[in-house]
């Protein structure tokens, strides 16, 4: 990481916290702070990605504004987190995309739909035809090979870019010690439960001193919904490629049930999280990050909604259009994946892994 103003301020705030330590019961950040006396830019990037932004430490802080020290840990770390996304982006020139992330993600969504629609209308005479539930009906609109090539190429590239980003993070902000199996298990548990998004078990402070589990449950809905949709696609792929059962699948079948439940959960999670942007206290946050958050939430919501619509209309003449739009959003998602807020999942998981690796180190001073 570079020595930016955000890093310098985050260092100042972490040094205050290290002398105070009142918040050590809230989350993983403070116990990690207590292990050191000096904070390199990489350390601060690690801490920033470890912070889940629950705001517990902001409302509990006796030095929060209007105190002259103006300690606001969630905001200070969100600034660094945002810079870390650009810092670790691969390839490097793509870092600029994080500057106006909301705009970029929205434009890509529009571009994705336009592209798929264009291709469909150019290449297929079956666009407006009602196919009923005949096997391979989807592929009459868009040939399977086209879906597979575009899907594999874009998603594959994005996964590679994400992996390179993870590598950059690990080099700059990773631990000295080796990864052990216990650490991986602990980190996985923290990722899957979002334990740190809960102020020591009481929940987040969304807009007041009162605690709430809202954000955590909504993220769970979105995250597990997303995973279920991913599982639905994977099962479909296995059915098709290995078992020779082509889509569409009956309503009572693994891919459709997984996809439907997942889609509904994603809608609940994303819409809920968007709604929270209206009530959240803006002070313990960074305003310019709002765009990227909302754009990704919107994109995920649209993927889910259009998927559910496609399911509803798949036997009718609207199937072609519904599918083109759904695939358009997915294409956009694949394209922006490594250049959107989605990277947070990777860096946050990596930060949790480093914390798990360091779990047995002893705090400095104070004993």
């Amino acid at each position: 990481m570079q020595e930016t103003d955000a890093i310098i301020n985050a260092r100042r705030e972490m040094e205050v916290c290290n002398a105070c330590r009142y918040c050590e019961g809230f989350c993983a950040v403070f116990p990690a702070v207590e292990l050191r006396r000096e904070f390199s830019a990489g350390d601060l990037s690690y801490l920033a990605n470890l912070c889940h932004g629950c705001r517990g430490c902001y409302y509990a802080c006796q030095y929060s504004p209007p105190h002259e020290w103006g300690i606001n840990v969630p905001a200070a770390l969100a600034e660094v987190r945002a810079e870390s996304y650009a810092e670790y982006a691969w390839p490097k020139p793509m870092a600029v995309v994080f500057e106006r992330n909301g705009t970029v993600v929205s434009l890509m969504a529009a571009f994705g739909i336009a592209l798929v629609l264009l291709l469909c209308s150019l290449g297929s005479s079956n666009f407006w035809v009602a196919h009923g539930n005949t096997p391979e009906s989807f592929y009459k609109v868009i040939p399977l090979w086209a879906m597979q090539i575009v899907g594999t190429a874009t998603f594959g590239f994005s996964l590679f870019a994400l992996a390179m980003g993870a590598r950059n993070f690990w080099r700059d902000a990773g631990p000295q010690e080796k990864i052990g199996p216990t650490a991986v298990a602990i980190a996985l548990w923290d990722v899957l439960t979002l334990k740190n998004l809960g102020g020591g078990g009481n929940g987040c402070n969304d807009n007041s001193e009162a605690f709430s589990m809202r954000r955590r449950y909504l993220h769970h809905a979105m995250f597990y919904g997303f995973m279920l949709c991913f599982a639905a696609t994977t099962t479909g792929f296995i059915y098709h490629s290995f078992l020779g059962w082509p889509a569409p699948y009956p309503f009572i079948s693994a891919p459709v049930i997984l996809g439907t439940v997942g889609g509904i959960l994603m809608v609940i999670g994303t819409i809920g999280l968007m709604a929270m942007k209206f009530v959240d206290d803006p002070i313990p946050n960074v305003r310019r990050l709002l765009g990227g958050d909302v754009a990704l939430l919107m994109l995920l919501a649209m993927i889910a909604v259009t998927g559910l619509v496609l399911l509803a209309v798949r036997a009718t003449g609207a199937m072609g259009l519904a599918m083109a739009i759904h695939l358009g959003f997915i294409l956009a998602f694949f394209l922006v994946l490594p250049y959107s807020k989605m990277v947070h999942g990777v860096y946050r998981s990596a930060a949790l892994l480093r914390r798990a690796i360091e779990r047995n180190m002893k705090p400095l001073g104070g004993e």
């Binding site: 105070c20 006796q62 004993e367």
Partner: protein
């Protein structure tokens, strides 16, 4: 906005832990309650917002405390720190009551850290608030609001107008404008007077200009003064205050816990002339930090400098301000505006006086002493010789004052003529002197405030509603 024309059952003067415990308890007992806090909302909660734990008796381990801490040990600890300046009946009552507070506190929204995770070595005797004292204060305000306690911020109680040992009316200033309000009973929970520098100056002279007030600037002792002027019996030595060693760069007020410095036992400490003046290693720091405030207050310009090397640096909690750092002792002295030759001499003399071959152990009194110095350093004496060198300037930091009002076990205020007040109660720092006449026991301030806040709230509500 609370209705200031109505007569409340209970008016609570103050907005810290003791006040909130009284207000919530009185409201739970059915009383209408007005809480008057002189600070704005953002700085509500007095010194309580800077705290982190409370000391509680317990006969066996529980969710937040390890092992056991029984009544007699607690009492012995109190006896030791106060040198007997305590009231055994009130003290033992407080100690016993401390074991039964958790349930009520948790119901009122307070959360604790699980036992053993605390940074300090106090997991047996002290329960740590999750997020510290401001989180506790926040939880109490939320509960109070939910229960219907009416709250006025930015409102100072200027006078409790007494007649025949009872409060008849209460003068307040709301955002600077005077008003008079009425209540059947009043609980005074407005803390000490350490933020009133003019009052402090009467005892300390101009040295107060070099004092740091660790907590809120709103504890000016206005209520305390009003009561003492009207024949309420006082307790505690008016000239005494709890003073610790702080980083001299601390803000004048509200610097809180982070400005304290634990470097002394592992350092050489000199005054502005570069001379050592006291045994830095006399005892473990938790037993000595409070005398260092006074020691520094007696030095010229009320300032001292702690100097250590890189061996010692990781052994104590960091201060909030970065240490001065240099590759030689002289350079360090220059950075701290001290005479480099003099400081070099002092450190050199110290290093020579360290007896060779001793085994250093920072976890106990290791007996590593100097020989031939005045004053000697009697523990943890190691040569200050491994660059880089680190230095901190130190000033006296005032935690609280001891002067207060006399109360009985029902938290009723007692008058000079020995009678109990008809409708005036007190809780927290303003009456701590009854139990803690001298010294300090970590976490005991919050215990007294919680126990007496609850009693005062209960008794005030009962009396008002009869």
């Amino acid at each position: 906005m609370p209705d200031r024309t109505k007569t409340y059952d209970v008016l609570v003067a103050g907005g810290g832990n003791a006040a909130l415990c009284a207000a919530i308890t009185a409201r739970q007992a059915g009383a209408s309650v007005l809480l008057v806090e002189s600070a704005p909302r953002a700085f509500r909660g007095g010194n309580s917002r800077h705290t982190r734990n409370l000391r509680a008796m317990h006969d066996q381990p529980n969710a937040v405390l390890t092992d056991a801490y029984k009544e007699d040990e607690y009492w012995d600890d109190l006896l030791r720190v106060t040198g007997g300046q305590t009231d055994e009946t009130l003290a033992r009552m407080t100690i016993r009551a401390s074991s039964g507070l958790f349930g009520w506190m948790k119901d009122a929204g307070v959360r604790f850290q699980p036992s053993l995770t605390g940074t300090l070595n106090l997991g047996r005797t002290n329960a740590f608030f999750l997020g510290g004292g401001k989180a506790l204060v926040n939880a109490y305000y939320l509960t109070a609001e939910k229960l219907g306690v009416e709250i006025m911020y930015d409102t100072e109680v200027t006078d409790l107008n007494m007649e025949d040992g009872s409060v008849r009316s209460v003068d307040i200033r709301y955002k600077g404008f005077p008003e008079t309000v009425h209540a059947r009973c009043v609980v005074a929970s407005s803390g000490g007077f350490q933020a009133n520098l003019d009052w402090m100056r009467q005892y300390w002279g101009d040295a107060v200009d070099n004092f740091v007030i660790r907590g809120t600037p709103y504890n000016k002792g206005r209520v305390l003064k009003s009561l003492l002027d009207q024949g309420v019996a006082s307790i505690g030595d008016p000239t005494q205050c709890h003073a610790v060693a702080l980083d001299a760069r601390a803000p004048k007020f509200d610097g809180g816990i982070t400005t304290r410095l634990d470097s002394v036992p592992y350092s050489v400490v000199v005054n502005k002339h570069g001379d050592r003046f006291y045994d830095e290693g006399e005892d473990v720091w938790p037993k000595r930090y409070a005398i260092w405030g006074r020691l520094i207050a007696q030095q010229p310009d009320q300032i001292a400098y702690s100097i250590c090397d890189s061996k010692a640096f990781p052994l104590f909690m960091p201060s909030v301000f970065p240490a001065y750092k240099a590759n030689t002792v002289e350079e360090l002295a220059v950075k701290m505006k001290l005479d480099p030759a003099k400081v070099r001499e002092t450190v050199k003399g110290f290093n020579k006086a360290v007896k060779p071959g001793q085994v250093f152990d920072n976890l106990k009194l290791d007996g590593n002493a100097t020989s031939g110095l005045t004053p000697e350093k009697t523990n943890w004496a190691r040569a200050v010789d491994k660059a880089p060198f680190y230095g901190y300037p130190l000033r006296p930091g005032i935690t609280f004052t001891y002067l207060g009002v006399r109360v009985n076990e029902k938290a009723q205020v007692i008058m000079d003529n020995g009678q109990t007040s008809g409708n005036l109660f007190a809780s927290g720092e303003i009456m701590s002197g009854n139990i803690l006449g001298k010294g300090y026991l970590a976490g005991f301030g919050m215990t007294i405030g919680t126990v007496f806040g609850r009693i005062a709230g209960q008794e005030a509500a009962r009396r008002a509603r009869n």
